[in-house]
């Protein structure tokens, strides 16, 4: 069969049931991405005879004799199609995994379709941006700044260094490489929520042509660990094996089949005979901790950091200061309510997966889609008894994370398979596997009690939290503790009480997810604050102003924290409240709505520690190169967070040069040093500080080297673009490099950050909504968020983080919900049944920044990647309550959920 791909004829025969997507990738067109492999996300869009199609749905044989254009062929070699240039100018991407499909789709829209983007783009999902930047690209808006003066990069909207590769489909993600002799792994998964594996008959599977190995619990290290990755292993329980002889949720991996092709590996999985002894299961968290419930991890102990295995309690926290009950009894107003949050998925468009191989020196190389290469390396070395220098873990560009890749879900199997077979191996999860077998946000049931005096001063705050960690305890404790932390400590209140418990159930595990517990509890706390204000007749802004902490106030939650390193490095909460209040009051045209639509406004605020507790470490190194440019090496990963841009800005500013003079290497353990990882919003606040320290040290070294050459005082030297200058004397960086080389003293420096002390960042979200009392539909009429990010390192990117956080959080507030049936099975494990926000679903959010400069963060900056998510559902709930007079206490706020109460009240 002959095909024309990007103008070049090919003669290839695709497999009978092969889709065009994999056919194109096998021919090396890696710009064609897999987001869902089911036609829902659009990441695999290509042009077929000039028309956009989802290549995952097109039988490859049907492309015979037709012209196929992938992103790589949209413009002549080296050039850029106007739409590619528009995406660059607007920086209409974050992780960039959807970008190829988005550009090909946008480039093919006619004028009518461009005036109806909600419908035209409903087949393209972007999980990062919130779509505003994509709309800017379509409108020809330029968001990136031109080159700026040397030394002034920090604080400017400079473009992401990977941009040109991202828009051309050349940026390399996890699977965008060809490896000779690669074997494929497929996983046999449990159909039972709780069972003991009695026997696995491998014979029929091993007989499938092309199958090399079948790995079971008998092959796996007899050692417990946690898939959660933290700097301190003691943060998570040791309750997981690479492959276990007990399965605790539907979808848990039972065995791995390693074969020449994915088809053979799949066939091997089908032919495996697994004999299960089915055990009683429990999927409801209340039932899980009740007497008589099946015990999910009966043998785990407190030494393994499982708080009370006999009651399925993996972690808990209880404490009180003051006397909440007495305070509530004597308060002028009180509120009490129970709120529930659902299971939501990160839905990063690049699924989990990776490649592993043993190189000629016997080093196990693992290339994976991870936020934490260094912590993964450490655990692989531990699990497989390898010296750390015999394991290398790295990632190239990662297609979205949102916390889901602060886990080790695939690298353990990859390592096991590579070590057992001695061959390079690949494991790429399907979208369905993402849903049934990775991690989700912890669903929580939050009971809140709150009281205030007649002046609107809080008298009591109490939270009772039940968190469902699923079958394993990865992140169970830290998420639970964080959930009951800053949402309370942001308010001054003399009486506070917390009872928080995380329980095991026989369901897909929960894990780390942007916001890390706070979005769940904020819905309850911020609703309570509003309800008190309503009873007192004061505004939702004023009650917060009267009660929020201000610099000097202790930030307290019970029981007392063992960490005392959180400081007010800066404080912009007051500004954030003012900014949102002003924006909400600004005149705005009211859309023409029928009387069925009820309107209302609501706000919510959030505080977040800028670094997770107990240590978050980053090393950075920077060296002067022969050509006078610099090579900066950091450990932190890029998955759309934009840190690659900011690290160069920090280094360029410290070295008084421009960003094009900084070459960045990142996220590879072979580079040396350590980096805890890109989680907890630490990519700038921690790793950026290490970069700043390294670059500032090197700047001093450069001055000293020049001063030595000139026999003058280093204090008289300054850096100027590409040279060191003292009076009329000038020596270029390249000349300095040559001098240093001659002297055998290369100019290089390193920096380190230990992630302490920590500061606090703030966000306030405001919404104006309309709710249709006859249908339950919600329209967002206005969305405003103010963020205190300290000195904003890159306003364009930071705005994008805020918008993307709002969009992702709106998905969880309005639409997204993983539905688990009574047996613990996820019944909607595909995007068409799990609705991610598309272009039509996301309002434009006005973003404002407080003007602060942080005393702790790098160059005054604070973290701003998780917290924009946190107040969104809470603010939306408050706005809906204001519009309808009904307090809805369960997310998502879907029309069919709101309708019964609306019908009761309004009788339509």
């Amino acid at each position: 069969m002959s095909f024309e791909i990007n103008g070049t004829p090919f003669s290839e025969r695709p497999r009978a049931g092969q889709c065009l997507r994999t056919f194109l990738r096998e021919l090396g067109h890696f710009g064609v991405k897999k987001g869902c492999d089911a036609g829902d996300c659009g990441a695999c869009t290509v042009l077929l005879d000039g028309e956009p199609v989802h290549s995952c749905l097109i039988p490859a044989f049907r492309a015979e004799g037709r012209a196929i254009t992938t992103i790589e062929g949209l413009a002549p070699e080296g050039g850029a199609h106007p739409m590619q240039q528009a995406f660059l100018d607007a920086q209409a991407f974050q992780c960039g995994f959807c970008t190829a499909g988005m550009i090909l789709t946008c480039a093919s829209l006619n004028q009518a379709q461009r005036t109806d983007l909600g419908a035209s783009l409903k087949g393209n999902i972007c999980r990062c941006t919130g779509y505003r930047a994509i709309e800017d690209a379509l409108n020809g808006t330029t968001n990136v700044e031109e080159t700026v003066e040397p030394g002034t990069a920090f604080g400017r909207s400079l473009p992401a260094p990977a941009g040109p590769d991202v828009v051309r489909g050349r940026a390399r993600y996890t699977f965008d490489t060809t490896i000779e002799g690669l074997l494929h792994i497929k996983l046999k998964r449990s159909p039972h929520p709780h069972a003991r594996i009695v026997a696995i008959d491998k014979a029929a599977a091993l007989a499938v042509p092309g199958v090399h190995a079948v790995l079971t619990h008998e092959d796996a290290p007899d050692r417990l660990f946690s898939t959660a990755r933290h700097e301190r292993d003691w943060m998570d329980p040791d309750d997981t094996r690479v492959l276990d002889d007990v399965v605790r949720f539907i979808g848990q991996k039972v065995a791995a089949v390693v074969a020449e092709t994915e088809a053979a590996a799949e066939e091997g999985c089908r032919r495996l005979k697994v004999d299960y002894d089915i055990l009683p299961a429990v999927v409801d968290p209340e039932r899980a901790r009740a007497p008589g419930a099946p015990i999910i991890h009966p043998d785990r102990t407190q030494e393994q950091r499982v708080a009370n295995a006999r009651q399925n309690i993996v972690a808990e926290k209880h404490g009180e200061f003051g006397n909440v009950a007495a305070a509530l009894a004597s308060s002028a107003v009180t509120y009490e309510g129970t709120f529930t949050t659902q299971r939501v998925q990160h839905a990063a468009l690049e699924t989990h997966g990776g490649l592993a191989w043993l190189d000629a020196t016997g080093v196990l190389n693992v290339r994976s889609s991870t936020q934490v290469p260094f912590l993964t390396r450490r655990t692989l070395a531990d699990l497989f008894d390898l010296p750390k220098d015999k394991v290398r873990v790295f990632c190239e560009r990662v297609g979205g994370g949102f916390g889901s890749k602060q886990e080790m879900f695939v690298e353990d199997i990859l390592a096991l398979a590579a070590l057992k077979t001695g061959r390079p191996v690949k494991l790429e999860l399907t979208r369905e596997e993402q849903f049934i077998a990775t991690s989700t946000r912890h669903p929580m049931r939050v009971h809140v009690k709150a009281g205030a005096d007649a002046d609107g001063k809080l008298t009591a705050l109490q939270l009772d939290v039940l968190s469902n960690t699923g079958a394993y305890g990865n992140h169970a404790g830290p998420v639970l503790f964080h959930a009951a932390q800053e949402c309370l400590s942001v308010y001054n209140c003399p009486n506070k009480k917390v009872d928080a418990v995380a329980v095991y159930t026989n369901t897909v595990p929960s894990g780390a997810f942007r916001g890390y517990g706070l979005p769940q509890t904020l819905i309850a706390v911020e609703a309570a604050i509003d309800e008190l204000a309503k009873q007192l007749g004061i505004s939702s802004f004023d009650i917060r102003r009267r009660n929020v902490v201000k610099p000097g106030d202790p930030m307290l939650t019970p029981p007392p924290s063992e960490y005392h390193d959180v400081e007010y490095g800066s404080y912009g909460l007051d500004q954030c409240l003012d900014l949102v209040e002003r924006a909400m009051q600004a005149d705005a045209p009211m859309p023409d709505l029928s009387p069925d639509w009820l309107t209302g406004e609501g706000i919510a605020l959030t505080m977040i520690d800028t670094v997770p507790p107990a240590g978050h470490i980053a090393d950075a190194a920077i060296a002067l190169r022969d050509d006078g440019s610099f090579e900066l090496t950091v450990g932190t990963a890029e998955f759309g967070n934009g840190t690659s841009t900011v690290h160069r800005q920090i280094a360029a500013s410290a070295l008084s040069t421009t960003v094009d003079n900084i070459r960045l290497r990142q996220s590879d353990t072979v580079h040396g040093g350590h980096d805890t990882g890109a989680y907890g919003s630490a990519g700038i606040f921690v790793a950026g500080k290490a970069t700043q320290a390294a670059a500032e040290t090197l700047a001093d070294e450069l001055k000293r080297a020049a001063a030595d050459a000139w026999l003058c005082d280093a204090a008289s030297c300054t850096l100027d673009g590409h040279s060191v200058v003292s009076g009329v004397k000038r020596i270029s960086f390249a000349e300095l490099a040559e001098l240093a080389r001659a002297q055998g003293k290369p100019l290089a420096a390193s920096g380190n950050s230990g992630g302490t002390p920590r500061s606090v960042a703030f966000n306030v979200q405001g919404f104006r909504v309309a709710v249709n009392k006859g249908t339950g539909e919600i329209k967002i009429l206005k969305s405003v968020q103010a963020a205190d990010a300290g000195r904003v390192a890159n306003p364009m990117q930071c705005r994008g983080q805020v918008e993307g956080g709002v969009a992702q959080s709106l998905g969880a507030a309005l639409y997204e919900e993983m539905v688990i049936d009574a047996d613990g099975c996820v019944i909607n494990a595909k995007f068409r049944d799990y609705h991610l926000p598309s272009f039509a679903d996301v309002p434009r959010t006005e973003v404002f920044f407080a003007e602060t400069s942080d005393a702790i963060g790098p160059m005054g900056a604070k973290s701003m990647s998780e917290s924009p998510y946190n107040p969104v559902a809470a603010a939306l709930g408050n706005a809906i309550a204001d519009a309808t007079g009904i307090r809805f206490t369960s997310v998502p706020f879907k029309p069919d959920r709101l309708f019964p109460a609306l019908q009761d009240k309004f009788g339509v």
Binding site: R15, A16, G17, Q18, C19, T22, D37, A38, G39, D40, G42, T45, E51, V53, H54, C56, L57, I58, P59, F61, R62, T105, Q113, G118, A119, S120, L121, K122, G123, N124, T261, E262, A263, E266, E267, R270, E432, G774, T775, G776, E777, L814, Y815, E817, V819, I827, N828, R832, D833, Y834, H835, A840, D841, K894, P895, D896, R897, F899, P900, Q903
Partner: protein
């Protein structure tokens, strides 16, 4: 996605060349659903492309839509001005959860044969009194109205080896005045209720309820009803257990949206003066 168990693809050019149906076979029209989910039970695809059925044929009395007509081809049909119901075509295309990119590949017949409650081509062709022609596995031919073809969620009258050949729409149906209403849990999402009403020259009022119910339900009234009459009829004819229950909408809400949209349609068609 790759369908790795598929070993062969047949490409018949005539009905006579259709291979004998065996377990593990599947008809391949657009393939947009087939390739969107694992199909481990299948080993052969029978590609309908080379049968080269004309997508759309207009006769004196009927519009014939072949089963392999794509959504995009149907949407692009230039309709004569006296087809007052023609806007329904685009309205129903837009009711797809899938975008215009899928419309180029997905087929009208495929949508009917999937028989999902939210299948908008089911809504369209049942509201327009469409008749399915089925090539039966035994060599015979069968004609069934679309409203009877779909029997439940993901269920229809086809038996293994049966092939949907075409849907014939009487032109009289296309010339009726019509009204369209749809609601979803999300702004451009999957239909949770999709109702189409029409008014015949003789004053008959037809209401076709789809998406909210597990199968299409058509209500006929000899003359324009008032609100109470229509509401009562819906309550009578659509038992609570006919309302579909899945992640795209709870039955209680679907029922009330059905009543609400039906009344909007009635009001639009019956309470306004004829143009």
């Amino acid at each position: 996605m790759d369908l790795n168990t598929i070993a062969a693809v047949a490409h018949p050019q005539t009905r006579a060349q259709l291979p004998a149906w065996t377990a593990g076979d599947a008809w391949l029209a657009g393939g947009t659903w087939l390739f969107s989910e694992p199909q481990e039970h299948l080993n052969r695809l029978i590609d309908l492309t080379d049968l080269k059925w004309p997508a759309l044929t207009i006769s004196e009395t009927h519009l014939s839509i072949s089963a392999t007509c794509t959504i995009a081809q149907l949407d692009a049909l230039a309709c004569p001005p006296d087809w007052l119901a023609a806007p329904l075509i685009n309205q129903c295309c837009r009711a797809f959860l899938a975008s215009f990119k899928i419309w180029k590949t997905a087929t009208v017949g495929g949508n009917l044969c999937m028989s999902l409650p939210a299948g908008p081509m089911i809504s369209l062709t049942s509201a327009l009194d469409g008749i399915c022609t089925i090539w039966q596995a035994n060599g015979g031919e069968q004609k069934i109205p679309v409203v009877e073809f779909v029997t439940g969620n993901n269920r229809n009258r086809l038996t293994p080896g049966d092939l949907l050949r075409q849907i014939d729409i009487p032109l009289t149906a296309l010339k009726r005045r019509s009204a369209f209403r749809q609601i979803s849990l999300t702004p451009v999402g999957r239909s949770a209720a999709l109702l189409i009403g029409s008014l015949g020259d003789d004053g008959t009022f037809t209401l076709t309820v789809t998406a909210s119910t597990v199968r299409p339900i058509q209500l006929l009234l000899p003359k324009s009803p008032d609100a109470a009459t229509l509401g009562k009829l819906i309550a009578q004819e659509i038992a609570d257990d006919l309302y579909h229950d899945d992640v795209h909408g709870k039955p209680f809400w679907r029922k009330h949206m059905t009543l609400r949209l039906a009344e909007e349609i009635r009001s639009e068609l019956c309470d306004t003066a004829r143009p």
